[in-house]
């Protein structure tokens, strides 16, 4: 291990991603019923957490924060577009 290397911003991002995963794991366990959240709130929270994680991976691990504007915009459009579309399809599901 190299201490200079460990101070890289990706280390902090990685720590946050691990914590976010633990939160999702805890929230999702047993259907989340013990956390007194409604089912739609729980599911939307899980989806939003996932896409926040994805944006961190894209920007800090894939280094898109240093990429040309067009590539940054395409990646962010994917993150926001897919996240919003999933929540929309979930929310307006015919049998919900």
């Amino acid at each position: 291990m190299n201490t200079e290397l460990i101070k890289h911003p990706a280390t902090l991002v990685w720590t946050l991603l691990m914590i976010a995963t633990a939160i999702s794991w805890w929230l999702g366990a047993d259907g989340g019923t013990v956390k007194s959240l409604t089912i739609p709130t729980l599911t939307i929270a899980l989806i939003v957490i996932a896409f926040i994680k994805v944006r961190f991976v894209i920007h800090y691990f894939m280094e898109i924060r240093h990429a040309p504007l067009a590539l940054r915009l395409v990646c962010d459009a994917w993150v926001i577009g897919v996240c919003v579309a999933i929540i929309g399809l979930y929310w307006f599901a015919p049998t919900s």
């Binding site: 990706a10 995963t21 794991w25 899980l46 991976v57 894939m62 240093h66 590539l71 994917w78 049998t95």
Partner: protein, 189 residues
């Protein structure tokens, strides 16, 4: 340093065509899954109960760790520390192997319980999406082995660094896709 530039595409442009193409395809998979789920929520939530959330979550942690190791490997390669880069790529490969072991155990348990791709709609999507993702993991592990060999061998030319960044970006894609697959298949209600 390369990463401080505001106009740096990590890796070859070609790898980004592949990555963005994969993101579009998997993006459609996610939407198709949530759309059809809406027509039979009962079936999807009942089927989901047969999945082991702990496997899914543990595999998320393994891929996140592997991605962090890959970032450390790329930074080491940039600093011209080839052997250190190879070591970090090796640790990422170890995490990828761990993911694979968990996946094989998980598939065997499901198959032993009689849950196959033809069991129902949920399991059809489960096997197709996780299977295609697993194919990415296997290809990614091949890439990591190539990068271990490459970084161990010698000091880097500009071209070698492009290969390192391309391979690293592909591995992060593998992580990214699983981050969404995990809540969709294992957790959402």
């Amino acid at each position: 340093m390369v990463s401080s530039s505001k106009n740096h595409v990590p890796g070859e442009v070609g790898i980004w065509v592949l990555i963005l193409g994969d993101m579009v395809v998997f993006g459609l998979f996610f939407l198709v899954f949530v759309y059809y789920r809406g027509f039979d929520i009962e079936l999807y939530t009942q089927s989901q109960k047969a999945l082991n959330q702990n496997y899914g979550a543990f595999n998320t942690l393994l891929l996140l760790a592997s991605s962090w190791f890959v970032v450390m490997a790329v930074e080491s390669a940039r600093a011209d520390h080839g052997r250190r880069a190879a070591k970090y790529f090796g640790l990422a490969l170890l995490c990828g192997s761990g993911f694979s072991v968990v996946k094989v155990v998980e598939y065997s348990e499901k198959l032993a319980a009689g849950l196959t791709i033809t069991s129902n709609e949920f399991f059809m999507y489960y096997y197709i999406f996780t299977g295609l993702h697993f194919l990415h993991v296997v290809i990614g592990m091949g890439v990591l082995i190539f990068l271990i060999v490459k970084t161990r061998a010698h000091t880097f030319s500009r071209q070698d660094m492009v290969a390192v960044e391309s391979g690293a970006s592909f591995w992060h894609l593998v992580d990214l896709l699983w981050i969404v697959l995990f809540p969709l298949l294992y957790l959402m209600k």
